[in-house]
Symmetry: C2
Subunit: 112 residues, 2 copies
DNA sequence: ATTTCTTGCAACCAATTGGTTTCTTATCTA
DNA sequence: TAGATAAGAAACCAATTGGTTGCAAGAAAT
């Protein structure tokens, strides 16, 4: 089963859960209270995120507190960085092209 | 059909396509050459990304060049920012708790 | 004019997803 | 000890996904 952080981010309910857990650890019941879907549906979302190691549990009696593995979120940032670097490279190339065009234009305007 | 930029990012093939298109516009055939899946499979990925307005086309004769709508990627960055803000807030709260603990400890060590 | 090339579209398929309901186990609490 | 509560597991379902193959339409080349 393909299961990475990007997958975890793909669903809006899971994104909301991530934001909630960014503030503080919560139990499945407490999370489910915030949504209109069943506790079990929430539990399935939790499982997806646990499987990609974005969530960890901390059992406290019969309650299980889930908290974010913040480091996992860095995979997203890392990919975005990679993306922005490639983008920057493209603009550098574009700059070169524009400079060359300008030179040609100057040559035309002021022939040697 | 739910179709947002996060969905577009969820598939590894699509992420690779995004990185390729960050460098330069490409035709479906050129993209498909880089993968082991059929051209039609690539076309379906392209369609997903076009539907969420992450890609735009530019027809040139019988070829269609696809390029990134870079602004759409900002939705990801924006969400990440939101996430990091909440996270920072959590750490501020943690700091407060630690400060309070320290004060209590001092009171114990040096009772008034 | 015919053939070739690029692309999109449709139908199909198996696997996955996001949800449900029901049931079990473990831990509190009265 | 009996009942309530928290949470995971399993079975089921409809919709979506990621892939395939085959076909049609438009542009280019011969």
């Amino acid at each position: 089963m393909r299961r990475d952080v990007f997958q975890a981010l793909a669903d809006p309910t899971r994104r909301a859960i991530i934001l909630m857990l960014a503030v503080q650890p919560m139990t499945p019941n407490a999370i489910a209270d915030k949504f209109d879907i069943s506790r079990q549906a929430v539990s399935k979302h939790i499982r997806v995120m646990t499987e990609c190691e974005l969530l960890r549990q901390n059992q406290q009696g019969r309650e299980i507190y889930y908290h974010l593995e913040v480091d996992k979120m860095k995979a997203i940032e890392k990919w975005l960085e990679q993306f922005k670097e490639l983008l920057a490279k493209r603009f550098e190339q574009l700059d070169e092209v524009l400079i060359q065009l300008k030179q040609k234009k100057n040559e035309k305007d002021n022939p040697v």
